[in-house]
Every structure is written in structure tokens, then in C-alpha cells.
Amino acid sequence: MDQTTVVLVPMYNEASVVGTVVAELREHFATIVCVDDGSSDDSASVARTAGALVLRHPVNLGQGAALQTGFDLLSRRPGTGLTVTFDADGQHRVADAVAMVEASRRTGVDVLLGSRALGSTTDQPLARRLLLAAALRYSRWSTGLALTDTHNGLRVLSRRAIGAIRLRQPGMAYATELESAITQSRLSWAEHPTTIAYTEYSRRKGQSNLNAFNIVYDLTSQRLRSAL
């Protein structure tokens, strides 16, 4: 049982799956922190019953905002070692998280990003594959990092990384923002193979493909603004 690593799970209306996800994580990690992003279902109580520490946004703000709330808590909390970010919809494998924490400890890297390209993906829809390819090209261009995957919810962050990253994009554009923070704060980073299972549930819950345009728009305007 890992006592110092904290698993951070942002969630929004995931009551039907988050209980299982938390229970599975609890077999390996002592502390699970769920940030409930203003869910209208009983995600919060389900997660609490499953043994997670639950933070609640009074209103829905977006996944980036939920992660930042978790980072704020963990950077203040003494005794936090590594932080794992883990999606609530059950698309990640707990075994991958365990392996990534081990790899992160071994190498001492600040940011370890999960990568579908190095690992494998089951039942990925074609539209999603094309969308991710475009998102990846954009992320590489805007961050200057030789990434093989982006928008993968599974990451392992050091304490230093948690303190350096400040997510201001409330929505999904935070993924590229987080990658940019690596360059700006000169954090060390690496990628680790992961497996993503596109279940019927995660496909239904996942963001719409059209949202890719919003992500690109948000990030481009942010880049232009910071360049001015």
C-alpha cells in the first residue's frame, strides 16, 4: 500500500462508475482525493462511501478548474509525495497508475505523462483518433515538447510540479496548458505507456469532437494575449 502518493480524481456526474474506480484505487493507494465539479447526481456521497476524501465545487467550473482545486489542497497538505491524476470514468487502468508511480520514483521526473501511443487503446472510435492526432500536432507546436500523446488524464506529478502548475483554463484546454507549464517552469518530464479502454460509458460521457475547435481557440487566444 502506497501511503504518500495521492490520487486526484476530478469528477462531474459520475455516480454510476466513480465508486468502483475509487474502490480499485484504494487497493493500492491510501489517499484518494475526488474533486466533485458541481455534480447534480450523488457522485460526492458515492465517492465518500468508497473511501475518498471529497472536495466539492458549489457550481460546475470545468475539469481544469477541478484539478487546480486539488493541486491547491495537495500543495498545502504536508506529507504529500507524488500526485496521480486519474479520470473518474474508468477509462484508465489502476495497474498503469501503479507502474507510473514506480517509474516516477525510480527516475525522479517531475511530470510523467501517460501515453496511448506508447501503450495501447481498445475500441477507439475513428473520429476520436483523428481528433487526438490534430490535438497532438497542436500541443507539440504550442509547447515545443516532443509529445506522443495529449489529453491523457493519467499523469504523475511531483510536489515541485504541483507548486509550479497554475491552471487558468477552466475547461479541457487545461491539458495543453499543463504541458506548457513544463516548459515555462523547466520541469523534467517523460512519458509512460498506458492503456485506455473506450467503454460505452466513457464514449458517451466523453467530450464532443467539436469541442476540439474550442480548445484550439482558447489556447491560441491565450498565446496571443501573452505574446502581446
Partner: protein, 120 residues
């Protein structure tokens, strides 16, 4: 003639609404711009020929075209200003929601501690 009454009344109502609803944070520039707009609007309605003459001076064919162009520019600026305001408000909302979430947790923790004391 009826249209003139209607147009002037509408801008007068807008002006009244602006003055009534403005809080202390309203910038003097915005107020001045609003007053200037109202004045030029009334002038334009009273003397349409004047607008046409100004339009011709600026190289625009008709007075109505000039009004339309100015309207488009004004709309653009106002949309951008609104967007930025909304963004600031959203960031503030995130900060408030975040601190409330952290506070709630802290409160729950302290309540737990207090409940545990008598047992030990």
C-alpha cells in the same frame, strides 16, 4: 415625424437606463461616450442632411451607410469588452468556488476532530 419621436424616445430611455443601473465602478470614459452617443443620435435624427454631409466628407456615399459602419465597430468593441468582463468574472467565480471547497473540507475535518476527542 413619428419615427423621429420614436427614435429620440428610445435613446432617451437607453440613457436613463444606463444612468440608473450604473454602479460606482462605471468608467467616466464610458459615461462620456454614452452621452456623446446620445447627443449625436438626437442630432442625426433631427437633421439627417447633416449626417449625409459628414458621410460625404469622410468618403462614404450615404449617411445611413456611415451610421451602419459606426454601429458595426461599436458592436465589435462592446462584444469584446463583454467577453473580457465575463472572463474576469469566471476566474473570480473559480477562485471563490475553490476556496469554498477547501473551506468545507477543513470544516469537516475540524468537526471530526471535535467528535473524536470525548472518545479518547
Amino acid at each position: 415625424m413619428i419615427i423621429k419621436v420614436f427614435l429620440i424616445a428610445s435613446v432617451a430611455m437607453a440613457g436613463w437606463w444606463l444612468l440608473r443601473s450604473s454602479g460606482g465602478r462605471q468608467l467616466a470614459a464610458t459615461r462620456l461616450g454614452g452621452l456623446l452617443f446620445a447627443a449625436s443620435w438626437v442630432t442625426a435624427v433631427m437633421a439627417p442632411d447633416l449626417v449625409s454631409r459628414v458621410a460625404n466628407l469622410m468618403g462614404v456615399g450615404r449617411g445611413t451607410d456611415l451610421v451602419l459602419y459606426l454601429l458595426v465597430v461599436a458592436f465589435l468593441f462592446s462584444s469584446i469588452a463583454q467577453r473580457q468582463r465575463l472572463r474576469t468574472v469566471e476566474e473570480r467565480l473559480a477562485t471563490v468556488a475553490r476556496s469554498q471547497a477547501l473551506l468545507e473540507l477543513e470544516l469537516a475535518r475540524r468537526t471530526d476532530e471535535r467528535e473524536r476527542v470525548p472518545e479518547s
